[in-house]
C-alpha cells in the first residue's frame, strides 16, 4: 500500500478493516488450539474403550467338562472340593509351593477358583481385536478365525468385554482370561488409607502453623519456600527417598518385625506401609499448600472477634478458623489424594510386587496398586494384556472421577458464606 498516494483518512479505514480481519483469524486459531485439548481427552477415552471390548479367539487345552466332579461344574464346587481337585491334578511340588505362598485355608473361594482355572484349564488367547476392528472389519475377523480353526479345533471366537464385574473382584493371576484387579484395588486402598493417616494431620497442622502461628522470620520463610520447592520435585525422587528411608533404613518398622509380625515374604520392608508413607511425603506439600489457601480465605474479622472475647489463638483456630476452612481443606486433600492414587513411578522404585495373587491384610503385606498393575500389564508384549490394562485404566478413572465428584460435593455442601 502506498500511503503517500492515498489520502490519510482512507488509508486509516482500509487498515482498520484488515486489522479486524486478522483479529478474527487469530480468534479462530485460539479456539482451534483449545479444541485440540478437548479432542485429545476424547481420543484418550475412545482409545481405552476401544481396547476394552472386542473379539477374541480362545483356545483351551483342557475341556472344562473333564474337571467336573459328579456332574458339578467347577464354578459350583466348594472351596474344599477345588483344593482337592488341585491336589489331584498338580504335581506335589507345585501344590506345596502355592501352599507356602499362602495356605489354601487362608485363600478365598474365588482365589482358589482362579488358581484352578489358571493351572488346570489352561485357557489360551490366540488372537484379539479391538472394538473398532470388531465392528467394522468383521470379514477379517471371521477369515482369521477359520484359518485358526484348522490348527486348533477347540478354539472359539467370542465377543468379550475385558472389563467385567467378575474381573474387578477376582485376584491377580498370570492368565489373561482369569486375571482380576481386586488385589490391586485393595492394595491401592490400603496404601491410600495410610497416606491419608500420615499426611492429613501433618499437612493441615503445617498449614495452620504457617498461616496462624508463624511470624515473619527467616525460619518460617525457609519452611514456606521449602514446601513450594518440594511440590515441584519429580515423584520418582520421592520413590528413591522411600526406598532409602522406609524400605531400607526403617525396615524393622515397615516390615512389621518390630511389632512382632514375622512374614518372610515382606521382611525386606517393601510393604503397604512403606508405599503409603512414600506417597504421604509426596502429597504433603500439596495438602499444605491447598490447606493454606483455605485457611487464608477465612476472613480476618472472625479471628478478631475471637480475640476480642479473650480467646486464645488455638481456641479461635479450632472453633472458628478450621471449621470455616474445612470445605477448602477437604477439597484440596481429595485432589492431593487422587494424585497419590494415580502415582506409579515412586511405587515401582519402592518395590511393588510383580505378581501377588492374594489380598493385602495388614500394613505389612506386600503390595501392588492399580497403576502398578496397569504398568505391568501395559509393559507386556502380548496384546491381550493391553486389553486388560485398558480395563484396569477404566476402573482407575472411575475411581478418580468419583473422588473428584466427592470433592466438588464436599465443597458445595460445606461451603459457607460470610
Amino acid at each position: 500500500m502506498k500511503f503517500n498516494s492515498i489520502d490519510p483518512k482512507n488509508s486509516f479505514a482500509d487498515n482498520l478493516s484488515a486489522r479486524t480481519r486478522s483479529g478474527k483469524t487469530w480468534q479462530l486459531m485460539f479456539l482451534l488450539a483449545t479444541i485440540v485439548a478437548i479432542i485429545t481427552l476424547t481420543l484418550l477415552m475412545i482409545n481405552i474403550i476401544n481396547s476394552v471390548f472386542g473379539y477374541a479367539i480362545i483356545d483351551s487345552k483342557v475341556d472344562p467338562a473333564t474337571l467336573a466332579v459328579d456332574g458339578i461344574s467347577i464354578e459350583e464346587q466348594s472351596k474344599e472340593q477345588l483344593v482337592e481337585l488341585l491336589r489331584a491334578n498338580l504335581s506335589k511340588g507345585a501344590f506345596n509351593k502355592m501352599e507356602n505362598e499362602k495356605s489354601f485355608t487362608d485363600r478365598s473361594w474365588s482365589e482358589v477358583l482362579s488358581v484352578v482355572e489358571e493351572r488346570l484349564l489352561k485357557f489360551d488367547v490366540l488372537k484379539t481385536w479391538n472394538l473398532w476392528d470388531s465392528l467394522f472389519k468383521r470379514t477379517d475377523v471371521t477369515q482369521e478365525y477359520t484359518a485358526i480353526l484348522e490348527e486348533n479345533p477347540n478354539a472359539q471366537l467370542k465377543f468379550i468385554s475385558w472389563l467385567t464385574w467378575e474381573r474387578v473382584v477376582r485376584p491377580q493371576s498370570s492368565e489373561p482370561l482369569t486375571a482380576g484387579i481386586r488385589t490391586a484395588i485393595l492394595g491401592s486402598l490400603w496404601t491410600i488409607v495410610i497416606t491419608i493417616i500420615f499426611a492429613f494431620p501433618i499437612g493441615v497442622g503445617a498449614a495452620v502453623y504457617l498461616e496462624e502461628y508463624a511470624g515473619k522470620n527467616w525460619v518460617n520463610r525457609v519452611i514456606q519456600t521449602n514446601i513450594n520447592n518440594l511440590a515441584g520435585v519429580p515423584s520418582i525422587i520421592y520413590g528413591i527417598l522411600g526406598l532409602a528411608i522406609f524400605v531400607r533404613t526403617l525396615e524393622p518398622l515397615t516390615s512389621g518385625s518390630l511389632l512382632g509380625f514375622v512374614d518372610p515374604t515382606t521382611a525386606n520392608g517393601r510393604t503397604v506401609l512403606s508405599a503409603g508413607l512414600t506417597l504421604g511425603l509426596l502429597v504433603l506439600p500439596l495438602i499444605i499448600i491447598n490447606s493454606q489457601e483455605a485457611i487464608r480465605s477465612v476472613p480476618q474479622s472472625l479471628r478478631h472477634a475471637g480475640y476480642g472475647l479473650g480467646a486464645t489463638k488455638w481456641q479461635i483456630t479450632w472453633a472458628h478458623v478450621l471449621p470455616n476452612a474445612l470445605p477448602g481443606i477437604l477439597t484440596g486433600t481429595i485432589l492431593a489424594i487422587s494424585r497419590a492414587i494415580g502415582e506409579t513411578a515412586p511405587l515401582v522404585v519402592v518395590g511393588a510386587s510383580t505378581a501377588i495373587s492374594f489380598d493385602p491384610t495388614s500394613p505389612f503385606s506386600k503390595f501392588t496398586t492399580l497403576p502398578i498393575q496397569i504398568y505391568q500389564w501395559t509393559a507386556r508384549p502380548q496384546p491381550e494384556w493391553q486389553h486388560l490394562a485398558g480395563a484396569a485404566i477404566l476402573v482407575l478413572l472411575v475411581l478418580l472421577l468419583s473422588l473428584n465428584a466427592a470433592a466438588i460435593i464436599a465443597r458445595n455442601k460445606l461451603s459457607r458464606k460470610f
Binding site: R19, T20, W26, F30, L31, A33, T34, A37, I38, L41, L43, L44, N47, I48, S51, G203, V204, G205, A206, V208, Y209, Y213, V222, I223, N226, I227, N229, L230, G232, V233, P234, S235, I236, I237, G239, I240, L241, A244, I245, R248, L281, L284, P285, T312, K313, W314, S338, R339, G342, A345, V348, V349, T354, T378, Q386, A389, G390, I393, L396, L397
Partner: protein, 317 residues
Amino acid sequence: MFEQTVSTENNNGFPKKIDGLKKKRRWSEFIIQMSLFLAGFFSIFTTLGIVYTLGKEALLFFKRPEVDLIEFLTGTQWQPHIAEFGILPLASATLLTTAIAMLIAIPLGLTVAIFLSEYATLKMRNTLKPILELLAGIPTIVYGYFALTFVTPILRDIFGKDVVNIYNTSSAGLVMGILILPLIASVSEDALTAVPRSLREAAYGLGATKNEVVFKVVLPAALSGISAAVILGISRAIGETMIVAVAAGAGPNLTLNPFKGAETMTGHIVRISSGDLSYDSIDYDSIFAIGLVLFLSTLILNIISQWIVRRFREVYE
C-alpha cells in the same frame, strides 16, 4: 478502689478474675503450638532426607573403582555390565523427549492461555477450565498407555513401520506435551490476567484492536510470567517418568532420532528398580546418582521459575 471494681457480680459462674491479668501457664496451648511447629518443620526433614540419601548413595557410587565423575558426565555409553557409566545417553533421551514435549506444549499451552484470558466468554472459560483440570488430573501411566497403544501405531502408519520403532521417543514426547499443556496454560493464564486492566484500557483508548492489545501490550507485559511457565513445564517434563517408561523404550541409546527408542534418566531408574534390586549392587547406587542429577536439574529450574514469578509480581503490585 481497683479491688472494688473487680466486684463479685462479675465472677458469677466464671472462674475468679481477681489476679486475672497475670500470665497464665497454658500448657496445652504450648504443646499444641509446638506440635504445629513440628508439623510445619517436617517438610524440612523431607528435603534434608532427599539431599542426604541422594548425596550419600551417589557418593558411594562415585567412590567405586569402576566409576569416574568425569566419565559419568561425559561418557557416551551407559552399560553397567561392561562398567561404562556415562550419563549422556540417558540425559540426551531426557532432553529429546522434553524438547518434543515442549514443541507441543508451549504453542498449544500459550494459545489456550491467551484464549482463556483474553478471548473466551465466561461460559467458555467455565467449560474449558474443568476440561484442562481433568486433563491434568489423569494419571501419567494412562498417558503412557495412550502413547504406546494409540500414538505409536499412528506414527508407524504415517512414517512406516521400518522407520518408527515400537518404542520411540517421539510418541512419548508428543503425549508428554499434552500432559504438560494444562500446566503451561494455567501458569501463563495467571501471568496474563495479572497484567493490569489499566494497561489494556490505555491501548484500547488509542484505538488499538483487540489483537493489537493482546500481542503488543498484554503478551510483552506478561512475558516473564510466561517464561516462568515454560521453565516449570520443562522441569515437569524432565521429571516425568511413566510415559517414557512405557513408550520411549528400554536400553540407553545415544541418538537424536525421535523414531528410535531411547531410555531417559527416569525411565532407567524405573527399569532398574523394578527388578530385584540388592542394596550393595552398583545398580542400586547408580539410581541415586541419576536421581541426584534429576533432583538438582529440576530444583534449579523450579527456583528460577519462582524467582521470575516473584519479580514479575513486584512489578505490578
